[in-house]
Each structure stands twice: as structure tokens, then as C-alpha cells.
């Protein structure tokens, strides 16, 4: 198990390098020069050169990449060009907000999605199934920013239950979590339903019935257990999606976080910040796949056996 984990972590290294190269090089194709944003109109060329020197923008790209990667590995994410603060500070400020939002949304979609999927599968082709699958389709076809705005319209503007925006107190989390969570719920419910239905057709389920176990116990203790294996795997793989959803939703609700930071720095061409944001998201995605593998191994002894 431990040696497998180490091997699995080592496998992430080339992926990380590939991702970092992509992130680094892509951003140098972005048109627009952040220096322009900093210089007063009509500044002498010397001021410009000095500025480029200061941010290392005058050296060849591979050198810039090497320096950048070295710094990143030492935890130094550089200095934000526009905000003129260490990027690490900006990230440290934004990250907890995004983690809280993403984590709660993940929790919400897992709990609600699995519950709905189970109810739908148990009532296959009857009205609860149709109603849930209809709702799921609805949930997965609404753009998340729009869903957010509609929730604001209903719960903040009309009912006044929750704040329209900001990040103060738990009340400000409810609507954003719902907005991201509903899309995730749709995904989870759909996978849960399909894998429950697939699992209940397996041979060993017949034998469980022949052993005299009650159908509900068979569904919840055995079928659901099997159905959860793909659900967990896919959810872990989709952590990136949930964070992606967070990007738009943070902007809609004007919440601080990686998403708002990313969008703002993109529009300001603030490379170091954008790079750091993307790197964080990429790491989350990579950790998600790793987490998925670990959870799968915990849930399935056959996978564990294949690991050693």
C-alpha cells in the first residue's frame, strides 16, 4: 500500500511538469503587456527596461521558466505585477474561500445526489424516478451563473433570506453552494442511478435474495456499496469541474476566491497571479485523481489486491 502510494505520487511528477510548462508558456502568448498597466503614459524607455528587469521579463523564455519553476518549488510564487504584493499572499487569501465553497458544494452534491439517485433507482421507471431524472436534466442544463442569478432573485431580492453577495457568515455561503451543488447533484444522481441499476442485475444479488435478505437491505447494503465505487471515482475526477463551477459562481456572487482572482488577473494580464491560480487548480485536479484512486482501493478489495 505504502509503496503503491509512493509510486502513484511519483507518477504525478511528470504530469506536474507537463502542466507547469503548459501553464507557463500559454500565458506568454496572452497579448497585452502588464508593464503597460504599470507605467505612466509617456514614461521613458529606460523606466520600461527597468521594470522588465525587475520582473525578469527581459530574459529568454526557457530561463524564465526555469527560474519560475525553481521559485514555485520553493513556495515563492512571485510578485503580483498589478497588485504589487507577493502572489503567495493573494493565493493564501483567496484559497480558503474557494476550498470552503468547493468542499461544501462537493459535500452537498454527494449527499443529495446519492440520495436522489438511490430513490430513482429503487423506483425505476415509476413516477419518483421520472420526477428525479427530470429535475436532474433541468439541473444540468442551466448555466450556473444564471442559476446563481435566479437564486439571488428569489431568495435574496424577493424573500430577503440570504445576502446578495460577499463572504460574511454562513448565510453568504448558502446560495453559492446551492448554485454549484445543484449541477454536481445532477451528475452524481445520474451516475448513482445507472450504477445501482447495473449492480442490481449482477449474479450475486440473486443469491442474496435466495438467502432471504430483505430487498431494502440488499439495495442499501450491497447494491449501493457497489454503485458507490464508480460514483466516488468519477466525483474525485470531477473535482476540477466543481472548482471550475466555483470560478463563475464566485464572480456572480462577488465572493473572494481563486475564481475571482483568476478572472481579475486575466483581464489585467497579471501573469504571475494567473499562473499561480492555474497551478492551484491543476494541483487540485491531480490530487483529486489521486484521492479517487485511494478511495477506490479502500472500497474494493480487488483493487487493493492489484496494487501490491
Amino acid at each position: 500500500m505504502l509503496s503503491w502510494l509512493v509510486k502513484r505520487l511519483l507518477m504525478l511528477v511528470p504530469v506536474f511538469l507537463a502542466v507547469s510548462v503548459v501553464i507557463f508558456s500559454i500565458l506568454h502568448f496572452i497579448p497585452g503587456d502588464p508593464i503597460d498597466n504599470l507605467l505612466k503614459v509617456g514614461s521613458p524607455p529606460e523606466a520600461r527596461a527597468q521594470m522588465e528587469e525587475r520582473y525578469g521579463l527581459n530574459r529568454p523564455l526557457p530561463v524564465q521558466y526555469g527560474i519560475w519553476l525553481g521559485n514555485v518549488l520553493r513556495g515563492d510564487l512571485g510578485t503580483a505585477i498589478v497588485a504589487r504584493r507577493p502572489v503567495a499572499d493573494l493565493i493564501a487569501q483567496a484559497l480558503p474561500h474557494s476550498l470552503r465553497l468547493g468542499g461544501l458544494a462537493l459535500l452537498f452534491s454527494t449527499v443529495v445526489g446519492v440520495t436522489l439517485g438511490v430513490i430513482a433507482a429503487l423506483n425505476r421507471d415509476r413516477w419518483p424516478d421520472r420526477a428525479i431524472m427530470g429535475g436532474v436534466l433541468l439541473g444540468s442544463t442551466m448555466p450556473s451563473f444564471w442559476l446563481g442569478l435566479i437564486l439571488i432573485l428569489i431568495f435574496s431580492v424577493s424573500l430577503g433570506w440570504f445576502p446578495v453577495s460577499g463572504a460574511r457568515g454562513w448565510q453568504s455561503l448558502v446560495l453559492p453552494v446551492l448554485t454549484i451543488g445543484l449541477g454536481g447533484t445532477a451528475l452524481v444522481a445520474r451516475i448513482t442511478r445507472v450504477s445501482m441499476i447495473e449492480a442490481s442485475g449482477r449474479d450475486f444479488i440473486t443469491l442474496l435474495h435466495a438467502k432471504g435478505l430483505s430487498p431494502l437491505r440488499i439495495q442499501l447494503r450491497h447494491v449501493l456499496r457497489h454503485a458507490l465505487i464508480p460514483v466516488v471515482t468519477i466525483l474525485a475526477l470531477r473535482i476540477g469541474w466543481i472548482l471550475g463551477g466555483a470560478v463563475t459562481v464566485e464572480v456572480v456572487f462577488a465572493r473572494p476566491g481563486l475564481g475571482t482572482l483568476l478572472i481579475k488577473s486575466l483581464s489585467q494580464h497579471d501573469y504571475p497571479v494567473v499562473q499561480a491560480c492555474l497551478l492551484m487548480l491543476a494541483m487540485a485536479v491531480m490530487l483529486g485523481t489521486l484521492l479517487g484512486d485511494i478511495l477506490q482501493a479502500l472500497m474494493d478489495p480487488r483493487v487493493r489486491a492489484a496494487m501490491t
Binding site: 449474479d203 443469491l207 438467502k211 432471504g212 450491497h222 480487488r302
Partner: protein
């Protein structure tokens, strides 16, 4: 006293397809009945009907009654039927490779039966499980109980399935082709263990197989199914000595001899017709050497013969 398991003129359909047509069978206490036929003859369906598990595969009893110990299963509540399954009726499936829950330890899967049906505590159930595994000649029972299904061989898994069938201290075990999926060498062993245990405990056994050799080896009586109907039924010895139904005769002729491919039924030309295209009259007539005009038009009546029954227009015709 009434039979332990009594199928009275049972017909079964799945959707529009009428798959079993008026099957009557009895299994007495402590008796071993072999149920024989090619694939598609309706053996497994008979087992599912006797277990009351037809709804799982979308089937239903359209006519007749399944009685266990004198009680009509259709008249029971779901809870009563569940009490029978695993309790008074044990079940052994066809394919042990897929019969066990792959994410639960072996021991727990056996324990649950005696906890559920005999009301044993966790510790008592485990003791009983280990005892059963030992009776089934499983070496190092306590290690096996802690193992996962994927760590066991097919023959070992089938012994576990048999242990689960025995765990509820049943009056009847229904075994649906318990050895088909196993290696030839293991097959004989499993049949022998199952037969011996059943005799020892006085449990009745409905043994479904396509192998007349197995029937000759362990059964008291034999029932032959063809295309969803009963062809012949009776005590093993007279039937093997002088089969009345040409299909029975052909099956006996197929008992694998050394050097023959396993389970081959090359002795009978053609195949069991599909339920959508059962021929009129006797359903065996297209493949029957004795077929005459009446066979092509009229369903044969069931005649009594030698403490048994046969459904054939020409039961005595010489071969």
C-alpha cells in the same frame, strides 16, 4: 404426509413468452430429485419458481401452484417467503465465480444466513460458519472466512455457496447446475460433497443438471424436462434400465464416457426450439426418431408408468 416441495401444474411466463407449461413435480423429505434437460428446457426457471424468485427476472406463475410443506407460496406474504428462502430452502447457484459479493469477506456472507434465520449472535454464527466450512472439507476454515472472494478458486467458492445454502439448516436445497462452471476434476468432488452432506443431514435436494451421469450417481428420482414440459419422471433405477421417453433415452445415451467432450449432447440432432416457436403437438417430435402423425398434432397425455410418469405417444416403441 404431503410432499416437501410440490409444483402442481405450474406454468410460467416472462412477458409474452410462455416458458413452462403445466409442470408437476414433487420432492419428498430427504429425497434427491434430479431435474434434467438441455439448455432452454426450463430447468433454471423451475428453480426460480420454487424459490419464489421469478419477479427478479420479470417472470410470473400464470397457472398452477407452488407449495412448500403444504403451504401455497403465492398465498404467503413477502416476509414469509423471505423466511423460507435461506431458512428452509437453501439455494446453490450455477456460477460460483459471480455468486459472491466481491466486496464482502467470505465469513460475513455465510454468517448472515444463520444470524437471519436461526437468530444466532455474531459469535455463534461465526462458529457455525467455521463448522460448516470444515464439514465441506475446506482446509484452514478460519483463514478462508477472513478472505475476500477474489482470493478463492472456483471450486472453493462453490463450497462457500453450498455452506451458505446449508447455514440456515434447510429442509430443501435447490442446486442449479452447481458444477457447470467448474473444472471437470472439481465437478465430481463438489457433487460428491454435496450428495454426502445432504444424505447425512437428511436434507432434500433438487439437483438441476444436464448430466445424466450425475443423476445416476446421486439421485433417487429423476425428472426430465423438454421445451418447458415434463417428458418423464420416476425413480432412477427403472428409468435408466428402460427409459420410456425417447428424449430420456437420448440423454442417457449422452452420458460422457471417457474420451468424450464434457456435456456434449451430440447424440440428439437439432436443438431445443425457442419459446417463440414451440412446435404443435409433442414439442420433441421434430427431433424424435419415433415421431408419427399424432405426435405432430396432439400434445401427448401424461401416463403412469413404473412408479413414474411419461408424456409420450409411443412410450413402449422399441428403439
Amino acid at each position: 404426509m404431503s410432499a416437501l416441495l410440490d409444483l402442481h401444474a405450474v406454468s410460467v411466463s416472462i412477458g409474452q413468452a410462455a416458458l413452462l407449461d403445466g409442470i408437476s413435480l414433487q420432492v419428498q423429505r430427504g429425497q434427491i430429485l434430479g431435474l434434467v434437460g438441455e439448455s432452454g428446457s426450463g430447468k433454471s426457471l423451475t428453480a426460480m419458481a420454487a424459490m419464489g424468485l421469478l419477479p427478479l427476472i420479470g417472470g410470473r406463475v400464470t397457472q398452477g401452484a407452488v407449495r412448500f410443506d403444504g403451504q401455497d407460496m403465492a398465498a404467503m406474504t413477502d416476509a414469509q417467503r423471505r423466511k423460507l428462502r435461506g431458512g428452509r430452502i437453501g439455494f446453490v447457484t450455477q456460477n460460483p465465480m459471480t455468486a459472491l459479493d466481491p466486496v464482502q469477506r467470505i465469513g460475513e456472507q455465510v454468517d448472515v444466513v444463520s444470524r437471519l434465520h436461526l437468530g444466532l449472535t455474531r459469535a455463534q454464527a461465526r462458529a457455525r460458519t467455521l463448522d460448516l466450512l470444515t464439514q465441506l472439507r475446506i482446509p484452514d476454515a478460519s483463514a478462508v472466512a477472513e478472505a475476500w472472494p477474489h482470493q478463492l478458486s472456483g471450486g472453493m467458492k462453490q463450497r462457500i455457496v453450498i455452506a451458505m445454502a446449508l447455514a440456515g439448516d434447510p429442509d430443501l436445497i435447490i442446486a442449479d447446475e452447481p458444477t457447470t462452471a467448474l473444472d471437470v476434476t472439481v465437478q465430481a468432488q463438489i457433487i460428491q460433497i454435496l450428495g454426502a452432506l445432504v444424505r447425512e443431514k437428511g436434507t432434500a435436494l433438487l439437483l438441476i443438471t444436464h448430466d445424466m451421469g450425475v443423476v445416476a450417481q446421486v439421485c433417487d428420482r429423476v425428472a426430465v424436462l423438454y421445451a418447458g414440459r415434463l417428458a418423464e419422471e420416476g425413480p432412477v433405477a427403472p428409468i435408466f434400465a428402460a427409459p420410456a421417453h425417447p428424449y430420456t433415452a437420448a440423454l442417457i445415451g449422452c452420458i460422457p464416457q471417457p474420451g468424450m467432450a464434457k456435456g456434449s449432447l451430440t447424440g440428439i440432432p437439432g436443438a431445443v426450439p425457442s419459446p417463440m416457436a414451440f412446435p404443435p403437438g409433442c414439442r420433441f417430435h421434430p427431433r424424435c426418431p419415433r415421431a408419427s402423425d399424432i405426435c405432430r398434432t396432439t400434445q401427448p397425455p401424461i401416463l403412469a408408468r413404473d412408479q413414474g410418469r411419461v408424456a409420450c405417444h409411443h412410450p413402449e416403441a422399441p428403439l
